[in-house]
Symmetry: C2
Subunit: 360 residues, 2 copies
């Protein structure tokens, strides 16, 4: 099966086998050595010297961790949303009692730095901003991260970036861009099964966290980084997924970050060109298309759900559909993590063949 | 290595290999079939017709789920604690703003039904009770569960049972004993790696949950059971651990619940007899010893930490030490999940040999 969804992504055979190793004591020296190794590796991929916590949870757990650690009940916050995963921050902020200012964009659009500055000017009490880097639901990468940290800091705010489906595939320069809190998840470019999620925290964010009375326990980031310093996790970790991560990071560092980023840039371009060559349109505005997932508009008169089913059942290729209001309106083609050019070409073939079949 | 800790436990080779299968779409038909199968299997082991949610989290995540779904901020609750994991409920209740009445017991003691009734009588506003079934930190199984549900209900309360390290190894009759919310975790008798946790919810508990304003999102149980009804999880699940669980449940059902319980009863007895034959004392009071973990008092003059290290380094056997105030004072011998009589006999040999070495 050609799994062409934006996560979980294919896991290399050697990583799958690494995950099949026997259990160990999660309070013993082998685990301590492993958490030290993976934390260093994750920090390298994050391009950061900040603390990074590894949580046993999916990416949404990392998002919740960011919200409950950073945001006080009743605190005014700005959420910039360009799709479903931005909307998830909206829901989280709402669930935990934040006073929400939501800045949303049309599906396919990227966020605009000037509009964000306008919102910060208009709401001087906002000191916490959430944004999605790569919006998996629309195939858009927000290009403003290099400037956004500085902007938010000028307004004395703290910035939380959901980089779950970008970091490890496309450049996220956590330290150079001064990003306060950055999230990622194992099942994306990390070439690992789902179940682990990452949260980086810089000094500015720790200070805010230290003063935040919002209740938290399982996702209490301080507990995680304090435990990690002693070679442990506060709660029993997903050991087998961690084995996978350990191996996958070894492979990623061997490939090299720049090569990984170049490979994803090439993959994105190949898929976009292939899609356009089929006469199909992208959802993303030009210039902000994601290099990890391409959202393709379902042509007039085509049943999007049927297209997906035919691709899966007759051409052994699994694409993702649209979420929320985009259900039936787009097909999403994942191109991140462990993949070859042939996987992508096969994916493009399957996309065409299944569309032809549905149009018959 | 003979992993004789009370979790993570050894995972059978066929379960490890099942976990090494390729990734699938977690929103596709294969996952839908799997979650249906595992949920049915988990319910069989739980001996329940209640809803059971499967969370991507460790057991502590299931404990947090119970607290945030059931307990309103400021609500008076009773936590019965006989050790570290009962104390974890105390911390969780405290973190989420409960008004705590704590009833604690000495290490090695089981909870007393009359004392619990006294507490409920003395605090008629308490409508929520937390208890640990099997206290991993002291090797004690509370024997009062068959009566406790009825008692709590007489006082119009709801009962939450942490059965993380018992259910799947020793009988927990969720429906017959009318237990409202019951927790378990994959890395115990379930013969699966850590990373998945279970929460059963009956009608009484759902009604309480429906009225509870406590913020929750990742651990919102209603989202989990609603999603499961459509063959999905609300957030990306730990797919590879789920593969393991699927295979492990198949093995458990093939063995049969009564055989599993008999095997653990025999294991507990074998280890206790072996330990006593070495002239060592158990921490647990007589009659309430756990059949999944045995806590052994470190004899006078012996360095408990050294004993553990020698067992690991020289006899390839990993025991667990004491937690909190019991650090250095006990050695814990796990006997749950995937194990043979030979594993336990080897464990007893290693226990003796390492003790002899430390005493030299």
């Amino acid at each position: 099966m050609n799994l062409r969804i934006p996560g979980p992504t294919a896991v290399p055979p050697e990583v799958l086998q690494a995950g099949a190793a026997e259990m160990i004591n999660h309070r013993g020296p082998e685990f301590a050595a492993m958490i030290k190794r993976t934390t260093e590796g994750v920090k390298t991929v994050y391009q950061t010297q900040n603390d990074v916590a590894t949580l046993t949870a999916s990416g949404t757990g990392a998002m919740e961790a960011a919200v409950v650690n950073l945001m006080a009940p009743g605190e005014p916050v700005l959420v910039i949303t360009i799709g479903e995963f931005g909307d998830r921050f909206v829901k989280l902020v709402d669930a935990y009692g934040g006073r929400l200012t939501e800045q949303s964009y049309q599906p396919g659009q990227a966020a605009d730095l000037n509009r964000i500055e306008d919102a910060l000017k208009a709401n001087p009490d906002i000191k916490l901003v959430f944004i999605t880097h790569n919006e998996t639901s629309t195939g858009v990468t927000n290009p403003i991260l290099p400037e956004l940290g500085k902007l938010v800091h000028r307004y004395e705010g703290t910035l939380v970036v959901d980089a779950i489906s970008s970091l490890s595939s496309v450049p996220v320069k956590t330290d150079e861009w001064d990003l306060d809190v950055v999230l990622s998840g194992s099942q994306k470019g990390w070439m690992t099964a789902p179940g682990l999620a990452f949260v980086s925290v810089n000094q500015r964010a720790w200070e805010k966290i230290g003063k935040n009375p919002q209740p938290r326990f399982y996702f209490d980031l301080k507990r995680h980084t304090d435990s990690a310093a002693t070679g442990q996790t506060p709660w029993t970790p997903a050991v087998s997924v961690w084995y996978q991560l350990d191996k996958a990071i070894e492979m990623m560092l061997a490939e090299g970050l720049e090569n990984i980023f170049a490979r994803h840039a090439r993959a994105g371009q190949m898929v976009r060109e292939g899609v356009r060559a089929l006469g199909l349109e992208l959802l993303a505005d030009e210039g902000v298309e994601s290099n990890t997932v391409t959202a393709i508009k379902v042509p007039e008169g085509v049943d999007g759900g049927k297209w997906l089913n035919v691709a899966r059942d007759e051409f052994d290729t699994v694409f993702a559909g649209g979420q929320g209001s985009l259900r039936g309106k787009i097909v999403r083609f994942g191109h991140l993590g462990y993949m070859t050019d042939a996987d992508l070409q096969d994916g493009l073939q399957a996309l065409k063949a299944s569309l032809d079949r549905v149009r018959q």
